[in-house]
């Protein structure tokens, strides 16, 4: 469709004029209107009519810009852009400043402290980490990690997850003493399984549950009495989770 391409070109050119990349007087209105008339005769679908309307609207905006330019050119502020550009390039920075100062009347404004401005200032400075701390962290890799709000929130989430999982373990165990480890941690998707295994490891470490090894099988037994862990008996027990197992 050659004519459709011509209509799209009209819209594109009008857009360039709107964005001040082209002079509005460069557009040939007569030929553009002729193209639109031809296109209107060929319009069949709603989309075609919309495109025709869009092009017509773009052309009307260009006429508006032409009007604005004529008004501007007849005003006292009109100067040929090229002459002004040349003038700007020829003047030194100091000359330009002196010229500007002649037409500049700065506003008098007295700023004052308000409760809101103090609050804004405080929150601004509190959001900065002290420079010394940043320097230490950057230069010394052995420096202790800074516990920020995010980590604390993570810990809060972890403890609530631990309580939830511990209660679930008690519920699932019921009257029995233990539950199969894989049966407990395995869920529909891999990420949930890993997450449950991760939280369970904390339950075991903190003494909320016991890990019992019976031959090849692993069992979990909830500690219903909330007994604290005896750190001397702490053992590391790596359990790998394969994607196929989840």
């Amino acid at each position: 469709m050659k004519i459709k391409k011509a209509v799209l070109d009209i819209i594109k050119t009008c857009k360039a004029v709107e964005e001040r990349r082209l002079n509005p007087f460069l557009i040939d209105f007569l030929s553009s209107i002729k193209i639109l008339r031809k296109y209107l005769a060929l319009c069949k679908t709603f989309k075609d009519y919309c495109l025709d309307g869009k092009a017509l609207n773009a052309l009307s905006k260009v006429i508006e810009l032409q009007n604005a330019q004529l008004l501007f050119q007849s005003s006292k502020l009109y100067v040929n852009p090229e002459i002004l550009k040349r003038k700007i390039y020829s003047l030194s920075l100091e000359d330009l400043t002196n010229v500007f100062l002649k037409s500049w009347h700065p506003i008098i404004e007295m700023e004052q402290l308000t409760l809101q401005s103090i609050i804004n200032g405080l929150s601004y400075w509190r959001n900065f980490s002290p420079y010394r701390k940043i320097k230490i962290v950057k230069s010394n890799s052995k420096a202790p990690t800074i516990v920020n709000g995010k980590t604390l929130r993570k810990n809060e989430n972890l403890s609530s997850l631990m309580v939830k999982l511990w209660k679930e373990m008690i519920e699932l165990t019921g009257e029995k003493e233990k539950i199969d480890y894989w049966m407990f941690i395995r869920k529909n998707d891999f990420s949930t399984t890993v997450k449950r295994a991760y939280v369970t490891s904390f339950l075991i470490s903190y003494g909320y549950a016991f890990l019992i090894k019976c031959g090849d099988k692993l069992y979990l037994s909830p500690n219903k009495k909330f007994e604290k862990i005896n750190y001397n008996e702490q053992v590391s027990f790596p359990i790998s989770i394969k994607k196929e197992e989840a």
Partner: protein, 178 residues
């Protein structure tokens, strides 16, 4: 002949309202002035201007922009310098020569382009005079101060502060005469 009234207390109220910045923009809105001073606020401001003349200051009316929901543009009264600052005084106010020159270039470029120009075009013209990295930074700082405006399509236009502080006709005239 009717004796002219002198509004001593009302002048003080007007000074408090106009000189002390309370919102984001300096000055006071016309309706606020009318509410606090009364219907004869124009006379009060004329008397205030008589006092300020001695100090090389003046109170002027500027039109507010972006009043989306009001059909009539709201006016604002601001206090500004009546005369001009010297280069040394401008420097003492914290302005650098190249910053003021960049503002002069930006404004004159916008004026000849009917008040609007693409940001990259303005950057290009500033780059020639003050360098690339500085050009972009300065445009942003002018936007922040209200001398320029920027829309979503990266088109720069003249800001409210320019309309309040700069005599645009005088600027173009002096540039061409320089």
């Amino acid at each position: 002949m009717e004796k002219e009234k002198f509004y001593s207390n009302k002048i003080k109220t007007a000074v408090h309202l106009i000189f002390f910045k309370r919102g984001k923009k300096p000055g006071v809105k016309e309706w606020e002035l009318k509410e606090k001073i009364g219907e004869k606020y124009v006379e009060v401001l004329a008397q205030l201007n008589e006092f300020l003349k001695e100090l090389d200051l003046e109170v002027v009316k500027i039109k507010e922009e972006n009043e989306l929901f009001s059909e009539k543009a709201e006016a604002r009264y601001i206090a500004r310098l009546k005369g001009n600052l010297s280069l040394t005084e401008a420097k003492l106010c914290g302005w650098r020569i190249d910053n003021l020159a960049a503002l002069a270039i930006s404004l004159s470029y916008l004026i000849v382009n009917q008040g609007k120009a693409l940001k990259k075009d303005l950057e290009k013209i500033l780059e020639e005079k003050i360098g690339k990295w500085k050009a972009a930074n300065l445009i942003d700082s002018f936007i922040k101060a209200g001398y320029l405006n920027e829309n979503e399509e990266k088109i720069i236009s003249i800001g409210w502060r320019t309309k309040a502080e700069v005599d645009l006709k005088e600027l173009i005239k002096t540039i061409l005469e320089a």
